[in-house]
Assembly symmetry: C2
């Protein structure tokens, strides 16, 4: 059963092929009468335009791609959601690729989408390796980066400013009397990891926390690194941990759950990234939240600008501190006091 083509529509409407095309696509001028006829014919024939044929001529496919390290990471899940929503509103569909840690998969995906002639691509780079990004740039495909800036290349970057949230977070820890704060950092080779740590240090300085020392454990942005780092930090006697991303924070939770360390009473916790479930587990987890919805939407805007040949500015969205129950720390000496305090 052959598809109904624009030819069929033209015949049914008793107009020329070109007229039908113009009436349906909206380019060029058609008298409203004939347009009406064409539209009716189209819908009565159940006409579905063939994007592939159109793309062949117009060089635009109405399709963009989103490449993330792992869509199962809630940050990327949400980013994907908002980006897809924004792009669909703009009339484009989104091809997703979840690359995992595997470079072969990344290249696989890249080859496929290049063949598909996507209009543009958004990449959230996982590793320090730039080869994929360079390929995209070389192929001259409009590109927007999430999280990771790329030096000396005019590719728009959408990311976050860790400072606002970080400042409040540190202030809060300080006001609770913490003197030994542990920091779980991401790979120092990643700019965002460095930025977050710098913001952390700056926040400490800003509030002039005398006598406050901090301990740092570096690792990749993974749950396992979070577990291992937590273990190490606890040995060093920290009373609070600030995890530089959600995966690391999840690792903290995991370690504490398996070692019966009670978050809140025994250990304060703040996580950079607000995974949905942080809100309704017990105790709920205090976070420094990125504006993921904003990132997705702005990435979409930036991408269509790039596709249109315009330039799009780098955008750094503010973060906010959200205080929850993981900050109910009761230092040992306070516990001692309580014990003696039999009046209550």
């Amino acid at each position: 059963m052959r598809d109904v083509t624009i030819q069929d529509v033209a015949r049914a409407a008793k107009v020329g092929l070109g007229t039908a095309s113009r009436a349906l696509s909206g380019n060029g001028s058609v008298s409203s009468q004939t347009r009406q006829r064409v539209l009716e014919a189209a819908s009565s024939l159940n006409y579905r335009p063939n994007r592939n044929a159109a793309s062949l001529r117009s060089k635009t496919t109405g399709t963009v791609a989103l490449l993330v390290p792992d869509i199962r990471n809630p940050f990327f899940t949400e980013l994907t959601y908002w980006f897809e929503t924004a792009m669909r509103a703009k009339g484009s569909t989104v091809l997703i690729g979840s690359a995992g840690e595997d470079h072969a998969q990344e290249n696989d995906f890249l080859a496929q989408i290049m063949a598909q002639r996507v209009d543009g691509i958004v990449i959230s780079p996982q590793s320090e390796d730039d080869t994929v990004i360079r390929q995209v740039i070389e192929a001259d495909i409009p590109l927007v980066l999430i999280d990771r800036p790329l030096k000396q290349l005019s590719v728009p970057v959408i990311s976050s400013r860790p400072e606002p949230g970080m400042t409040e977070a540190v202030q809060n820890l300080a006001s609770h009397g913490h003197t030994c704060i542990g920091y779980l950092g991401g790979p120092q080779s990643l700019p965002i990891a460095r930025d977050r740590y710098a913001a952390f240090l700056e926040a400490l300085n800003e509030h002039g926390l005398p006598g406050t020392t901090h301990f740092v454990e570096w690792g990749n942005f993974s749950r396992d690194a979070g577990k291992i780092g937590t273990q190490a930090l606890l040995k060093r006697g920290v009373t609070a941990i600030l995890a530089a991303n959600g995966q690391l924070g999840t690792g903290v939770l995991e370690h504490c759950a398996s070692s019966n360390q009670a978050i809140g009473p025994d250990l304060s916790l703040i996580v950079f990234d607000d995974y949905e479930y942080f809100r309704f587990i017990s105790p709920s987890v205090s976070v420094i939240a990125q504006d993921i919805e904003g990132m997705g939407r702005i990435a979409a805007d930036a991408l269509v600008d790039c596709i249109a040949g315009k330039t799009a500015p780098d955008t750094y969205l503010p973060t906010v501190f959200i205080k929850r129950d993981s900050l109910r720390y009761a230092p040992p000496d306070m516990k001692e006091n309580r014990k003696g305090d039999s009046l209550h």
Copy 2:
């Protein structure tokens, strides 16, 4: 800067257009000598095949679509991940659509992918409304359904058998001495919701739990329904709750966290669906897990079969019960005993 076409490759390799096409696509026979020449020419010219042009002739796009209610629901996130992985291995890219509750969005997405001429589509229906599905069938697009069977239509369904997991789960609750079990069910209009409840009842019977009563709260598969239902069940004195899906289970967690109800000691919990974070929160949540990876892969297999014109069987994957810490229930009378038991 014009794209390099297969023409250019053919010229460079000093062969005819057709030969180049056969050499590159693998269809038809070419002497290994000339194939070599063509391949070399292609890579040295940095040739990228144009899928759109190919699709115009071959009627196949190497693209499939996946439509889920909300990709942010961890079940669908993981399903998307595995499905995408499987499809990429088969050489297809995946267009995703996250429909939300919005029907307009669904239709939007549908129109777009029909224009894209996707080879097939996998739908995980959200509502009882079949209009989207019917449209796909009417357009004669190969279709596979996740979760939801469709009566009297030969569309493959990939879903789960709740029985194995449910049986073990109920047995476990019984062996812990629960006599009042609460059940949070999904919309009775949904087959999977009915199936799960039926499996629950069957499990109760199977183990001949004398004196065990159960209480049921129905709602849609949402966190809010879980919260409200939990509240209602607790008022009725249940000592354990079985939630019929992950969202409902999340609602239980949320209610308990905000009302200081300790899961484990105060209330046993088993959730149908194994969200990743259930494993490492405290207490960890016992679950009846679906084989999502299997569902994703089998859906991919079934879809390519449909595309190839073959029929694919309905597949129901077994569930498994995974025991975790949310079952450490200590009934009030046991607590009393403990109090008196000062020997320990």
